[in-house]
């Protein structure tokens, strides 16, 4: 199976800005059943792109634009090939928990088993777990994670705009509404509290016309992966109550969102920024839609670039160590 992915990000500034610096984490990963066949990034204004691999193995591109600009547009195009996911068993035997003991989890997966910035069991999450009777399961971990996937899916409404990219999970827990990022963070925190290594995946979802997905088709997507001794990493998509499969195209993994924002940037100047994102994921045989689908959206999964703030100088200058 082949996909063509187009991911357009556009920042518009209320006044001219200069010296923009950007990092991008949007190149689909090449591992397991997913193979990256082609990838290209174009920016307007044009810029020289550089790349490195971060400590999670994600490809990171970065560039800068010195000259004044009121708009910055980034277009990433990828071609991805999928082999079929190996079929998962419905359940695992009860010995799976013991198998964790054969591994020194804190060695292999230290970062993914400890709480992280967005994925930690807060009082609100503890209360939610009690309410939904989420306890470390006696059943096998695979079955338990599937059940957790469903529990989270059922407990929350999908609604854009309730939470922001930097929202802690408390917001979603309070409102019982949120987006894929919130659900993934919650599920990661629960899995880790059970002793299961868990990580955040940012990527793209192919919305089959016949499938009813809750998540929007015009945005990037996020889900989580849990590590099982006999299966390795298994993906769960609590937003849509499914296991991750060949519709889930993985771009970057990390402890939580903070490690993998698709764009992160700064600029110099005094301006408000407005972000528009458009994503299309198509089987390559299907015609790629025209780009006029680009429209202004709420920042779903890209934080706006940060402007440098002179008034912070004063306080921060005093704060430095020793």
């Amino acid at each position: 199976m082949f996909y063509s992915i187009r991911h357009v990000t556009r920042f518009r500034y209320s006044a001219e800005v200069r010296e923009s610096v950007m990092e991008l984490r949007m190149q689909p990963r090449s591992e397991g059943p997913q193979v990256l066949r082609a990838f290209q990034i174009n920016t307007i204004p044009r810029a020289q792109l550089y790349a490195y691999t971060d400590h999670f193995g994600n490809a990171v591109y970065h560039f800068n634009v010195l000259k004044s600009h009121a708009e910055l547009r980034i277009e990433a195009v990828a071609a991805v090939e999928f082999a079929r996911h190996p079929p998962l068993p419905d359940t695992l035997d009860m010995l799976e928990w013991d198998r964790y003991n054969a591994f020194n989890l804190s060695d292999e997966h230290f970062d993914l088993i400890e709480p992280s910035k967005f994925s930690a069991v807060s009082p609100a999450l503890a209360a939610f777990m009690e309410e939904r009777r989420i306890v470390k399961p006696a059943a096998d971990p695979l079955g338990a994670l599937k059940a957790l996937n469903t529990t989270i899916h059922d407990a929350f409404d999908y609604e854009v705009g309730i939470t922001e990219v930097h929202s802690p999970i408390e917001h979603a827990l309070q409102q019982r509404r949120g987006v894929c990022q919130d659900f993934s963070h919650i599920m990661i925190a629960v899995a880790r509290s059970w002793g299961i290594p868990a990580r955040y995946v940012s990527g793209y979802l192919y919305h089959r016309p016949q499938t009813k997905d809750r998540s929007g088709s015009d945005a990037t997507h996020a889900w989580m992966e849990a590590w099982l001794p006999s299966l390795g990493w298994v993906g769960f998509d609590p937003t849509n109550n499914v296991l991750a499969d060949e519709r889930h195209i993985r771009a970057a993994v990390g402890r939580d969102y903070a490690d993998v924002p698709p764009t992160r940037g700064t600029f110099k100047g005094v301006a408000e920024s407005e972000l528009a994102i458009a994503v299309s994921v198509e089987p390559t045989q299907a015609p790629v839609r025209h780009e006029d689908f680009l429209r202004v959206a709420r920042p779903m999964s890209s934080p706006p670039p940060t402007a440098s703030m002179p008034e912070r100088l004063y306080h921060q200058q005093q704060q430095q160590q020793q």
């Binding site: 200069r18 010296e19 010195l66 000259k67 004044s68």
Partner: protein
Amino acid sequence: MLSRVADSLYWMNRYLERAEHIARLIAVKLETTVEQSREDAEAAWARVVAALSAEHHMTESADAMSVTHRLAFDWHNDSSMLASLGFARDNARQVRDQLTIEVWENLNRLFLKLRPLADDKSWLRNPPRLFRETLQALHALEGVTNSTLSHGEGWYFLELGRHIERAQLVCRLLDVHFGTARSAIAAEPTYFDWLVLLKSCSAFEPYCTVYTATIRPEKIAEFLLFDREFPHSVRYSVDRIGDALARVAPGAPPTRRAAVERLAGRLKATADFTQIDELMSGSIARFLAGIAAQCEQIHEAVYAAYITYGAETVL
């Protein structure tokens, strides 16, 4: 030199020049008020206030000492002498590593000495002496700057700041006596006021050397505008601005220097090819405004070329 450093040096001296100008105006005024009639004295104060563009800080009933306080020691008036000195020191602090210990100590000591006067009235004991001492300290600071600091790029940015400020301040002072601002003051300048004008520019003796003690307004204007050798004349400042612009940003390519140098050339031509007779027959206000505006344009061009330029334009 770092652009930020050039920026601070430039402003340090603009503020010092401003502080010195205020100090001199007040010192001269305080020393001469005693000999004047009440009305003349009030008009003379009005001229000082107008020359410093400080009218909005004044109230009707202000006496000499409260006017002095506002012009000199009001810490909340950004254009007071003390505030100017404070800004000069802030800028110096920003580039402390570029100054010699002597320069910093002189400036810092003067500021620390005057700063308490914002809140106590001890200066009332002998105001004329205080302002004389302040002037002396500022002159000493300038001397120390000239004699301890290398006359490299940084020094030329100091020069640029001093003379762009001075040219504008002298133009403003002349405008109060000859131009549009003159009409705002009830009384016409007397012989005495012309003397004050000269002294306000430290110009009395140099003027006499050139023109004898004959006080004639058009000669005063000619001297303060066009004398080549007197350091508080506009022409002198224009020449120093030209010198400074030839020496700053030595590594900048000719294309970036061109805009700045063109403006400097124009300013010099304006000063070189204007006759005092034309001015006295009515165009002096426009002329003074023109010089001030050209100084402002040079300021902007310098910033655009050397300080705030777009990084992409120089790679």
